[in-house]
Amino acid sequence: MDLTQLAWTGLAVFGALGLLAGVALALAAVRCRVEVNPKIEAVKHALMGANCGGCAYPGCEAYAEALVNDPAVPPDLCRPGGPEVALAVARITGKELGSAQPIMAVRRCVKDEGQVAAELAYSGIPTCLAASLAHGGPDACRYACIGLGDCVASCPFGAMHLEGGMVRIDPEACTGCGNCVRACPKAILELVPRAARVLTHCSSRDKGKEVTSVCQAGCIACGMCVKKCPANAISMEAGRIKIDHDACLAHGPACEEVCAESCPRSILRRTGQAAPPAKAPQPAAEAQQTQEA
């Protein structure tokens, strides 16, 4: 058998096999066809494809399926996509677009402004979760940002970084997916509407005296803002301030943010308002014992 003949035989055999397999696959494609709603594909393409989980579904595909198959699933859950994606999804699925606004994560701690002292030298597993097991964290305030970056590691959009022992959030990059809120063991991150008029910057649930003994900036839970708010949008929930941003936005600017004006600690501020000028440093704080936990 010469080489040419061998080549021709091979070509014929594999050509025939290929043809056979092709026919079998074509038949299988017809017989075993699975009906897929084309809307699912369309919705999937309209979503951002980041698989961040902010919608509480395991990835964009799962959310797309739920959107199309379940009429109760709202079209505006894609946090990174924002209103444009919500509109596109609502068009494809024919759903009502709710009034949900774009949201973002904010940090409710200003331990740097408050000059909160580190109370113990933590040298264990370098995560906030593990550090929170040792007396709630290394800082004198039990509600302070631990600053080991569990939230930074959880952010799929690179919107967070650590600086000066605290997390900083880039509001431009934040999509409001909420992964950081779930990662934070101290519950100091919160999702708020981007349009929020006022924000509070402290998470403490302690009484005023305990707060002032460890932090120069923290909320002393005096309740002034609760009393002053004409829209009843501010309440004290389990020892700390809760702002109902929907009620606040519905009331509108007529109150001229009287809550922020009346806050004796300037810890409840207009969104974007800078921190008050730092007070003179306190007389030499007593030497802290450094001990490992």
Binding site: S123, L133, A134, R142, P185, E210
Partner: protein, 441 residues
């Protein structure tokens, strides 16, 4: 150590005992401090509700906090004096807990015991006395004793075990109690046996306390209980003082995963608890006093101090001449399961077994490396779990996956972290995983 002595079968480690010098020092009574701050949470469960107000006069042994329902125990005043306020005090595990501050009256007469013939009492009345006296597990866990003495319906208990193992290094409080209050320990065992309605009682003591074993044997004979209460020497191994391990060592029975000692017919109480039960039932004295071992190379003078709940740790240390300059770490409890604290502003509770002031030589700090898959933690784990896998998953943030390696069966004895050659904080990874899974549900 004799190889014929019994111990638990699975895992375990041998940390250096470091029991001397505290083990050789007689119990010393701490002079009354200027102020007591009595935490209302000294036990497992919910904090007790305060029963006193600021300015109110209290008598020594008066109930100042009670738990209405659920898991908990009453709290009693350690002194006669005046309530100076309701405040909060730090707890090494739970942050700030409610507390009652009391200023003692130095002129007040000491507590007058009310001797009672407990042998004539019904078992349920004895149990009522134990509950009213607020007795909790004195070994360190602080589990309310009256709840432990009422096994869930359907379970039969045939053996009572008194835990005199004290397997944590440094600690000698139980050892001293067994030596100096031997008769009270035996009486406590007899009372608890009656409450449970069982014949068989065992006292487990590790063989590194031969004097305690001899004293207990003599006291059992003196009480006419030879043959019914047996004192069992055990081979030295950590964590033999854990209930499940002690039951395995003494009876060969294995408590099923997620089960109680009562599932294998046993109830275990620490010897310190036995003494507290004796005082509560036979003398009518509530539980507000305990022996605390203060040890470690960082304290000027080690000691076993008899102190009352609400005393500041600072008081204890000051009484012994203060903290030496070399001390770098303060631990409440034993070195394996205790927790480091950042200052001495903590209060003695019913469950405070020790205060350790450790120097750099006695502690291990610094970083940790990757797991080298040597499997030593698997050999050391007394529960047969897989700490190495839990740590690897937890390190990558995959907490949900840690459950299948036995996360919830871990009682955090720390043997895994103790043996790890890469110095991985294995038990801390486990604790972090538990915290995350509990918070996320």
């Amino acid at each position: 150590m004799s190889s014929t002595l019994r111990t638990f079968s699975l895992g375990g480690v041998h940390p250096p005992g470091r029991k001397a010098p505290a083990a050789g020092l007689a119990i010393e009574v701490l002079p009354a401090p200027a102020e007591y701050v009595v935490p209302l949470l000294q036990h497992c469960g919910a904090p007790a509700m305060p029963l006193v107000k600021k300015g109110e006069a209290v008598a020594e042994g008066q109930c100042i906090g009670a738990v209405e329902k659920g898991l908990g125990a009453s709290v009693h005043s350690p002194c006669t004096g005046k309530v100076t306020g309701l405040t909060r005090t730090p707890n090494p595990f739970l942050g700030l807990v409610p507390a009652v501050a009391i200023e003692p009256d130095p002129e007040a007469a000491p507590f007058a015991p009310l001797p009672t013939d407990w042998e004539a009492m019904e078992a349920c009345d004895i149990l009522g006395r134990i509950k009213a006296a607020g007795v909790v597990g004195m070994g360190g866990a602080g589990f309310p004793t009256h709840i432990k003495l009422c096994p869930p319906p359907g379970l039969t208990v045939d053996t009572f075990i008194a835990n005199g193992v004290e397997c944590e290094s440094y600690l000698a409080a139980d050892h001293r109690l067994m030596l100096e209050r031997t008769a009270d320990v035996v009486q406590g065992v007899r009372i608890l046996r009656k409450v449970l309605g069982v014949e068989r009682a065992l006292i487990g003591v590790e063989a590194n306390k031969p004097d305690a074993i001899a004293a207990l044997l003599a006291a059992v004979e003196a009480a006419g209980e030879g043959g019914r209460i047996s004192v069992e020497p055990l081979a030295v191994k950590y964590p033999q003082g854990s209930e499940k391990q002690l039951i395995s060592a003494l009876t060969g029975r294995n408590v099923p995963a997620g089960g109680l000692p009562a599932h294998v017919g046993c109830v275990v109480q620490n010897v310190g608890t036995c003494v507290a039960v004796y005082e509560a039932v036979a003398l009518g004295r509530p539980c507000y006093e305990r022996v605390v071992t203060v040890a470690g190379a960082g304290v000027a003078r080690p000691a076993n101090l008899l102190c009352r709940v609400g005393t500041s740790v600072q008081n204890l240390v000051d009484h012994l001449g203060g903290v030496r300059d070399e001390a770098v770490k303060c631990v409440l409890g034993g070195p394996m399961m205790g927790l480091a604290v950042q200052n001495l502003d903590y209060r003695v509770t019913k469950a405070t077994s020790g205060v350790l002031l450790l120097t750099a030589d006695e502690t291990e700090t610094g970083g940790f490396g990757p797991c080298i898959r040597c499997g030593r933690c698997l050999d050391a784990c007394p529960m047969g779990l897989e700490p190495r896998d839990i740590s690897i998953y937890a390190e990558r943030g995959r907490f949900a996956d840690t459950a299948r390696f036995g996360l919830w069966d871990c009682f955090e004895c720390g043997s895994c972290a103790y043996v790890c050659p890469a110095k991985r904080p294995l038990v801390q990874f486990i604790r972090a995983s538990k915290l995350r899974l509990r918070c996320r549900g």
